[in-house]
């Protein structure tokens, strides 16, 4: 009995020690991962290797989708086909106009010597998993560094902005949604051009428009677009619609809430956008435009100086000529 007690005491002691070691290990791994990014490579490779697990975890969803699509009736399919072809036709017509506007915009930008924007690279991706962590609003999409996804890449759907890539693995990447409290997006009110930064609330149908003075012209129903400031999100993508503007005398700022346009809990497909700021062609063009503008200033200054000089010289000459003419005319008068 005594021996048994001793053994159990020793066991207990060992359990406490083991737990202490585990806590220490967990905390040190956490610190290394979060603060120093020493484990970034390790994470990249292991998470890339765990991709099949994620796909497997998504299988109930994808299987149910396949099954439900298989059981659609013939008449439903015909209806859907008709609807889609009509939609496609209308969108083609819109695109015709869009092309024209794009050319016009490019021409105007060239006239202003500002670089034309080429948003050429678009990547289609499917949401394969939603982060189960209750503190984070993130989703996993099935495109990774193998498809040239990079950290900070903006993600959109046909409805509006979704967020940005915060972690790119080989075959999948994590997207930070705009509803996450860590996600801050520079936005602009499309009606009044009030600029600001919006941040997520943690809830999937609400974001906050922060630090806006009470006097700012923001009303219910205003459309908020990305302002393009900061360089992560391209300009002009719809983000949210203002749902309430609370103004209280005791608060220095207005409490503005907006509802995201994208249905984050329902979206299945997303578009990943690269703004191509790294594109050498764009950089060259921007450099060229800058040079032209810079030279133009110098040219202008020189031209103005020359012009002034010329004018002053001309003026002086003219004066002399006029005097000469007057003198000659006087002489002629005297002769007469």
């Amino acid at each position: 009995m005594d021996i048994d007690l001793k053994v159990t005491d020793q066991d207990n002691y060992l359990v406490h020690l083991r737990f202490a070691i585990i806590v220490f290990l967990a905390l040190s791994v956490m610190a290394l991962d979060v603060r120093s990014k020493v484990l970034a490579d390790f994470r990249y490779y292991v998470e890339s290797a765990l991709y099949p697990v994620l796909v497997f975890a998504d299988s109930p969803h994808s299987v149910s989708k396949i099954v439900s699509s298989q059981f659609k009736s013939h008449s439903d399919l015909i209806k859907e086909n008709e609807k889609l072809s009509t939609e496609n036709f209308l969108q083609r017509a819109d695109i015709l106009r869009l092309k024209d506007l794009e050319y016009e915009n490019e021409a105007l930008r060239k006239l202003l010597n500002s670089p034309a924007r080429h948003n050429t690279k678009r990547l289609f991706a499917e949401v394969i998993d939603v982060d189960p962590d209750p503190y984070l609003s993130r989703v996993i999409v099935n495109q990774g560094t193998s498809a040239e996804v990079y950290e900070g890449m903006p993600v959109i759907t046909d409805m509006g902005l979704v967020g940005q890539v915060i972690e790119a693995n080989y075959s999948y990447s994590r997207v930070l949604l705009l509803t996450d409290p860590n996600c801050q997006i520079p936005i602009i009110d499309s009606r009044s051009s009030v600029r600001g930064i919006c941040s997520g609330s943690g809830s999937h149908n609400q974001i906050f428009f922060n630090n806006v003075p009470r006097s700012a012209d923001v009303r219910e129903g205003d459309l908020l677009l990305t302002s393009g400031i900061g360089g992560v999100y391209p300009r002009g993508y719809p983000v949210a619609i203002v749902t309430s503007v609370g103004v209280s005398d005791s608060q220095p700022f207005a409490a503005i809430t907006a509802s995201p346009l994208v249905e984050i809990d329902k979206m299945r497909y997303v578009l990943m956008f690269s703004t191509n700021t790294q594109d050498s062609k764009d950089i060259d063009y921007a450099q060229k435009a800058k040079n032209i503008t810079d030279n133009k200033i110098i040219l202008n200054q020189q031209r103005v100086r020359d012009l002034i000089d010329k004018l002053s010289v001309k003026g002086a000459n003219n004066k002399n000529e006029a005097e000469k003419i007057e003198e000659t005319s006087n002489e002629v008068k005297h002769d007469q």
Binding site: V15, M30, D33, L136
Partner: protein, 174 residues
């Protein structure tokens, strides 16, 4: 006696597949309402073997490794789920030594309270890291974990008897 012992299979035969199932259940995509209140399946599976089998000695280490894998698949800060799962197992196995003798509803209360406490610990750590935000909903999983404990217990007990796995050592020893 010897022959009956030989017939018994190792608990690992059941634990490893159950842990894999638990992992899938933790990361599988579910509707948002269900997903927010998802019980801690992995912890419950490990807890069953930790309280029932005296042969299962490396509970803390296994829960740490499993938690680390969960961190990697969910993208959480590395080590947070490892700490959460192993703390729960540690608290229950060391502070409630006769856990397996308790009535089911008492076990449920203990599981719920410990999960609740450790949830707060997890929230606290994530808040220090700067990723968490406060929402009362984060405490609901503690209730769902407690409610799921009898189901997990019964399922595991049935599976153990089906695959003739030796788990009731502790009770025999007592």
């Amino acid at each position: 006696m010897i022959s009956s012992k030989e017939n018994k299979n190792s608990f690992l035969l059941l634990l490893v597949p159950l842990l894999m199932i638990g992992m899938i259940l933790q990361i599988v995509q579910l509707p948002e309402i269900v997903s927010q209140n998802r019980p801690d399946f992995l912890m419950l599976f490990i807890l069953f073997f930790a309280v029932q089998s005296s042969k299962f000695t490396y509970t803390l280490e296994i829960s740490w490794v499993v938690g680390l894998l969960l961190d990697l698949t969910t993208g959480a800060p590395l080590g947070i789920n490892a700490l959460i799962i192993s703390s729960q197992i540690y608290l229950i196995t060391t502070q409630f030594k006769n856990f397996h003798k308790y009535v089911m509803f008492q076990q449920m209360i203990i599981v719920g309270i410990v999960n609740f406490l450790v949830c707060i610990l997890g929230y606290w750590i994530e808040h220090i890291i700067g990723q968490a935000y406060f929402e009362m909903q984060f405490l609901i999983p503690a209730v769902s974990t407690a409610l799921f404990w009898p189901f997990i217990y019964i399922i595991c007990a049935i599976l153990c008897s089906t695959f003739s796995i030796e788990i009731y050592d502790k009770e025999k020893a007592d």
